[in-house]
C-alpha cells in the first residue's frame, strides 16, 4: 500500500493541483476574470441567500388554458356546422366537454363525421402516439359530445409555457437586472431568479399581467346605461375603464388590430399637455389594418383594451395611415413606462400566478457570508488543533490532506459553476469533519496494528489496507443521503447537498491517494522504526 510508481505519484499530485487551481478565479475580481480565456472563467456562483435577490416560482393557470382550448373547440364546431348548413341547438361547454344537439336526426351522421374531422392526431416525436386531440362521441338523442383529451391539454400547456418563458424573459430583461435566470420547472411552472432585486413587487406586477392588447371599436348604438339595463348587442360587450373610478364602455367584440402586431412602444410626454403617454408603432400588417379601420370610422371612438380593461377611448379625427399612434390615459411616468414594457414584450398566452416567493435583501446576504466564513474558519481551526494534539506528526499529515481537500471542493464547485449557499458553507464545514474521519480511521487502525505487534512499516501498510475499505463503505452511505437531498431539494438545501456530495468525493480521493502518498513519502525518507502516532 505504501509503494507508488513515479508516474502514479505524479498523476495524483497533478490531479489534486489542477482541481485546486480551478478555485483560483474566485479570488480575483469578476471584471478581471472576464478578460481571461473562457476556459479559465468558471467560478462559484453565490446563491440568492448570500448575494441577495428574488426567487419567484410562477405557475401557468391550467384551468385557463383548458377553458381557452374548449372555447376554441366550441368555435370550431360552430364554424363546421354552419359551413355544412346543419341545424343545431345548445352548443355549449359543459363539464370539460363541448356539447351540441343536432336538430334533425337525418343530419346526425354527417354532423358526426364533419366534427370528427376537427380531431387531429397528436404529434410527438414518433409522429404516431395513437392519441388524438378530440374524442367525438354520440351521446344519443341527437347529442354529440366533443371531449378534449388530456394529452391535448398537456400539449397545449407545454406550448403555453414555452411561449410564456420568452415573454417573461423579455419583461424581466426590461428591468435591467444582472444575469436573471428564467427556467421551466416541471410541466407548468417557470422559475425566475433575479440576483440583487430587493423588492420584487414591481416585477410581480409586470409578470402578473397577461397584457393582451386589442384595438376595437366602441359600439355607439347603445349607451353604457342601456347596455347595463340589458339591451347589449350580441356582437358587443361591456368593459370597464382601467383607471379608477371604473367607467363602463360598450365595446365591439371584433378586434381591429391586436397587440401582436405592434413593433415598438416607448414611454414619452405629450408635447402640448406634458402628460405621460405611450407612443407605439405597428408592423406592416398592423399598420395596414389600422389605416383601413381608421379611414372607415372617422368621427367614431375606438377603444384601446388591455386585459379586458379600456385604457382609453379616443375619437378618430382623421385616418391614421403612418402606423404610429400614441395612448394617453391618466398615466403616471411609472405606469406609462410599464405599459410600454408590456407592449414591447408582448402578451402572455395565459395568466401566471406567483406560487412561491423568496427574497433576500443584500444586508442579510452580506451578514450570512460573514457569519458563514467566520464559522468555517473557527470550525476548521478547532479541528486542526484537535488533530495535532491527538496524532502529532500524523495530525500534520491529516491537516495537510484536509487543506487540499477543502481547496479541491472549491475547485470542483467552481468547475461545475455550482451555487454556494449558506447551508452549502455548512456542508463544507461538515466535510472538514468527515475528511478528518478518514484519517482517523487510518490512524486508529495503524495504532491497533502496532499494538498487535507489527513493526512500523508493516503496521502502516496494514492500517491503510484495512481502513480504506471501511472508508469507502461509510462514505457511500452518506453519499446516498446527499444524492437524495440533491434530488428533492431546491435552492439553499440543494446547495448543501452539492457541497456535501462533492466533499465526500474529494474525501475519498484524498484518503485513497494523497494521505497515502504523504505517509509513503515520509516512510521512504525516514525509514522509521517506531511510528509517532
Amino acid at each position: 500500500m505504501l509503494y507508488f510508481t513515479r508516474w502514479k505519484a505524479l498523476a495524483i499530485i497533478l490531479t489534486a493541483l489542477v482541481v485546486c487551481l480551478c478555485a483560483v478565479p474566485n479570488f480575483f475580481p469578476e471584471a478581471q476574470v472576464k478578460s481571461w480565456p473562457t476556459w479559465a472563467q468558471r467560478r462559484l456562483v453565490l446563491g440568492l441567500d448570500l448575494q441577495g435577490g428574488s426567487y419567484l416560482l410562477l405557475e401557468v393557470d391550467s384551468n385557463y388554458v383548458k377553458k381557452e382550448k374548449l372555447d376554441q373547440v366550441r368555435d370550431d364546431a360552430r364554424r363546421v356546422l354552419r359551413e355544412a348548413k346543419i341545424g343545431y341547438t345548445g352548443l355549449n361547454v359543459r363539464n370539460d366537454a363541448v356539447e351540441v344537439r343536432i336538430s334533425k336526426d337525418t343530419e346526425q351522421a354527417t354532423a358526426l363525421s364533419k366534427l370528427r374531422d376537427l380531431s387531429q392526431p397528436l404529434g410527438g416525436l414518433m409522429g404516431s402516439s395513437g392519441q388524438r386531440s378530440l374524442e367525438v362521441t354520440d351521446a344519443g338523442s341527437g347529442l354529440i359530445r366533443l371531449t378534449v383529451s388530456q394529452a391535448a391539454i398537456t400539449e397545449r400547456i407545454r406550448q403555453t409555457i414555452e411561449q410564456s418563458i420568452q415573454i417573461v424573459e423579455r419583461r424581466v430583461n426590461e428591468l435591467g437586472t444582472v444575469e436573471p435566470v428564467i427556467q421551466r420547472q416541471g410541466t407548468d411552472r417557470i422559475l425566475v431568479q433575479v440576483p440583487g432585486l430587493q423588492d420584487p413587487t414591481h416585477l410581480k406586477e409586470l409578470l402578473g399581467k397577461t397584457a393582451k392588447m386589442e384595438f376595437r371599436m366602441v359600439d355607439t348604438s347603445v349607451s353604457p346605461d342601456q347596455a347595463q339595463a340589458g339591451s347589449l348587442p350580441p356582437e358587443s360587450e361591456l368593459l370597464q375603464s382601467a383607471s379608477p373610478p371604473p367607467v363602463p364602455y360598450v365595446v365591439k367584440k371584433q378586434v381591429l388590430v391586436s397587440g401582436a402586431e405592434l413593433s415598438d412602444a416607448q414611454p414619452g410626454f405629450d408635447q402640448r399637455t406634458g402628460e405621460p403617454i405611450v407612443s407605439f408603432k405597428f408592423n406592416t400588417t398592423g399598420a395596414r389594418k389600422f389605416a383601413q379601420a381608421t379611414s372607415e370610422n372617422v368621427g367614431q371612438p375606438f377603444a384601446i383594451v388591455l386585459d379586458n380593461k379600456v385604457i382609453s377611448a379616443p375619437v378618430i379625427r382623421e385616418p391614421i395611415t403612418g402606423g404610429q399612434g400614441q395612448i394617453s390615459g391618466n398615466f403616471t411616468v411609472q405606469s406609462a413606462n410599464d405599459l410600454a414594457i408590456l407592449m414591447r414584450a408582448g402578451a402572455l398566452p395565459a395568466p401566471l400566478t406567483v406560487i412561491e416567493e423568496r427574497t433576500v435583501g443584500p444586508g442579510l446576504g452580506q451578514d450570512s457570508i460573514e457569519k458563514g466564513e467566520l464559522a468555517a474558519y473557527v470550525g476548521s481551526i478547532l479541528v486542526i488543533v484537535f488533530m495535532l494534539l491527538t496524532y502529532r506528526l500524523f495530525g500534520v499529515f491529516a491537516n495537510l490532506a484536509v487543506a487540499v481537500n477543502v481547496a479541491m471542493i472549491f475547485g470542483l464547485l467552481s468547475l461545475l459553476n455550482a451555487t454556494l449557499t449558506l447551508p452549502g458553507i455548512a456542508g463544507i464545514v461538515l466535510t472538514v469533519g468527515i475528511a478528518v474521519d478518514s484519517n482517523v480511521l487510518i490512524y486508529e487502525r495503524i495504532r491497533e496494528e502496532l499494538r498487535g505487534g507489527r513493526n512500523a512499516i508493516s503496521a502502516i501498510d496494514a492500517g491503510f489496507k484495512r481502513a480504506l475499505a471501511t472508508i469507502l463503505d461509510s462514505n457511500i452511505t452518506t453519499f446516498i443521503a446527499a444524492a437524495v437531498l440533491f434530488y428533492i431539494g431546491t435552492g439553499p438545501v440543494r446547495g448543501f447537498a452539492v457541497t456535501l456530495g462533492i466533499g465526500i468525493i474529494t474525501t475519498v480521493f484524498t484518503a485513497f491517494t494523497l494521505t497515502r502518498l504523504i505517509v509513503a513519502a515520509w516512510v521512504r525518507w525516514k525509514r522509521p522504526q517506531t511510528v509517532p502516532i
Binding site: 400566478t353 427574497t359 464559522a375 495535532l388 495530525g395 491497533e448
Partner: protein
C-alpha cells in the same frame, strides 16, 4: 476582534505544527488502549431506554406536533430590521393585527432591531398570499429594511412536504439496498432499525424544542442519517472482519471486541464533528441555527449512541451467529483442505 482571535489561533496552529513535526508533543489517547467495556451486556438497559424514548418521541409528535415552517405549512415570513435601531414589536403587532390577516406572529430574531414576522396561510389560494405580503409591506412601509421575504403558496407547501417525506424514505431504502449488497441482510436490517430510531428521536427533539420544521430540517435529518450510518458501517465492517477471523468466539464477546476496537475512532471523529458543528452553531448566524441545533442533537447525541448501543448489539437478535450450527463442520473441512493439498 474576531480577526485577532483568528490570527491568534493561526499562530497556535503554526506552533503546534512545528512542535508535532519534531515529535515533541506527548501522544494523546482519549480512549486508553486496553479498553474492554462490556457494551453488549449494556443492551439490557439501552434497549428498554431506547424503546421508552422512542415511545415518548412518538407521543410528543402526536400530542405536541412539529412546528411546521412556511415551507410545509404555507404562508408568509418576513425578516425585517427596524431602521431606527430598536424595533417596537408591540406597535408593529398592533399595526399588523389591524390588517385582519388572521394569525400574525412576531418574534425577536437575533439583535434588538430584527423581527421575524409570520403570517399564516391566507384562505383563497396563491393570489391571496401575494395580497397578504403586499399588505404587510404597505403597513410597515419604509420604517424597516426587508431582509428576507418568503411566501409559499398552498400547493407548493403540500408538494415540498410530500417530496421531503418521499426523499427521506428513498434515502433509507437506498442505503438499505446498498448495505444488503455489501453485508448480509441482518446487517441491513439492523442498520435500518438504528436509522428509524435516530429519526424518531430527532423528531421527538424537534417536537420538544419546537424548532421550525422546514426543508432544512429534512436536510438535517438526512445528514444525521448519513452520519449515523457512517458510524454504524464502521462498526459493522469490523464485526464482519472479526466474524471471518474468529469463527468460534461467542457473539456478545465478538461484538464487544468490535465496538471496543473502533471506540477510539468513534470518539475522535465525534469530537471533530462536534467542533465543526459547535462553530456553526455559535458563529453561523440565525439562518442556520435550528439546522445546526438539530444536527448537533442527531449526530452527536443520538447517532453515536445508536451505533454503539443499538446497531451493534441488535445483531444478536437478528440471527448473526459465530457458530452457526454447521460451523464445526466448516472448520473440519477447512482443516482437511491442507491435507488434501498435501496428498497431491
Amino acid at each position: 476582534m474576531t480577526h485577532y482571535v483568528l490570527i491568534g489561533l493561526g499562530i497556535l496552529i503554526a506552533a503546534l505544527t512545528v512542535v508535532s513535526v519534531f515529535g515533541l508533543l506527548p501522544s494523546l489517547r482519549i480512549v486508553p488502549d486496553d479498553t474492554h467495556f462490556d457494551f453488549t451486556r449494556f443492551r439490557r438497559i439501552s434497549f428498554p431506554i431506547s424503546a421508552l424514548l422512542s415511545i415518548v418521541a412518538i407521543t410528543l409528535f402526536f400530542t405536541h406536533g412539529l412546528n411546521f415552517g412556511i415551507d410545509f405549512k404555507g404562508g408568509t415570513l418576513l425578516e425585517v430590521r427596524a431602521k431606527s435601531g430598536t424595533a417596537d414589536i408591540a406597535a408593529m403587532r398592533t399595526t399588523l393585527n389591524g390588517l385582519s390577516l388572521g394569525e400574525v406572529q412576531l418574534q425577536q430574531f437575533g439583535g434588538p432591531a430584527e423581527v421575524l414576522i409570520r403570517v399564516a396561510e391566507q384562505p383563497g389560494g396563491d393570489a391571496a398570499q401575494q395580497e397578504a405580503v403586499q399588505k404587510v409591506r404597505g403597513a410597515l412601509g419604509d420604517s424597516v429594511d426587508y431582509r428576507r421575504v418568503e411566501v409559499v403558496g398552498p400547493r407548493v407547501s403540500g408538494e415540498l412536504l410530500a417530496y421531503g417525506m418521499l426523499g427521506l424514505m428513498f434515502a433509507i431504502l437506498g442505503i438499505l439496498i446498498y448495505l444488503w449488497f455489501r453485508f448480509e441482510w441482518q446487517f441491513a436490517l439492523g442498520a435500518m432499525i438504528a436509522n428509524v430510531h435516530d429519526i424518531v428521536l430527532t423528531i421527538g427533539f424537534m417536537s420538544i424544542s419546537q424548532v421550525d420544521f422546514d426543508l432544512t430540517s429534512i436536510a438535517a435529518l438526512l445528514t444525521i442519517l448519513g452520519y449515523s450510518l457512517n458510524d454504524t458501517v464502521v462498526i459493522y465492517d469490523r464485526i464482519r472482519e472479526m466474524l471471518r477471523r474468529y469463527k468460534k468466539m461467542p457473539m456478545p464477546q465478538l461484538l464487544n471486541e468490535s465496538i471496543n476496537s473502533t471506540l477510539s475512532r468513534s470518539i475522535v471523529t465525534h469530537v471533530t464533528v462536534t467542533l465543526a458543528l459547535l462553530a456553526l452553531l455559535l458563529f453561523g448566524g440565525q439562518a442556520i441555527h435550528s439546522f445546526t441545533a438539530v444536527m448537533m442533537f442527531g449526530v452527536v447525541l443520538v447517532g453515536t449512541y445508536t451505533s454503539i448501543f443499538i446497531a451493534a448489539p441488535i445483531l444478536i437478535y437478528l440471527g448473526v451467529h459465530t457458530t452457526r450450527g454447521e460451523a464445526p463442520e466448516t472448520v473440519e473441512k477447512s482443516e482437511k483442505k491442507p491435507n488434501a493439498a498435501a496428498k497431491k
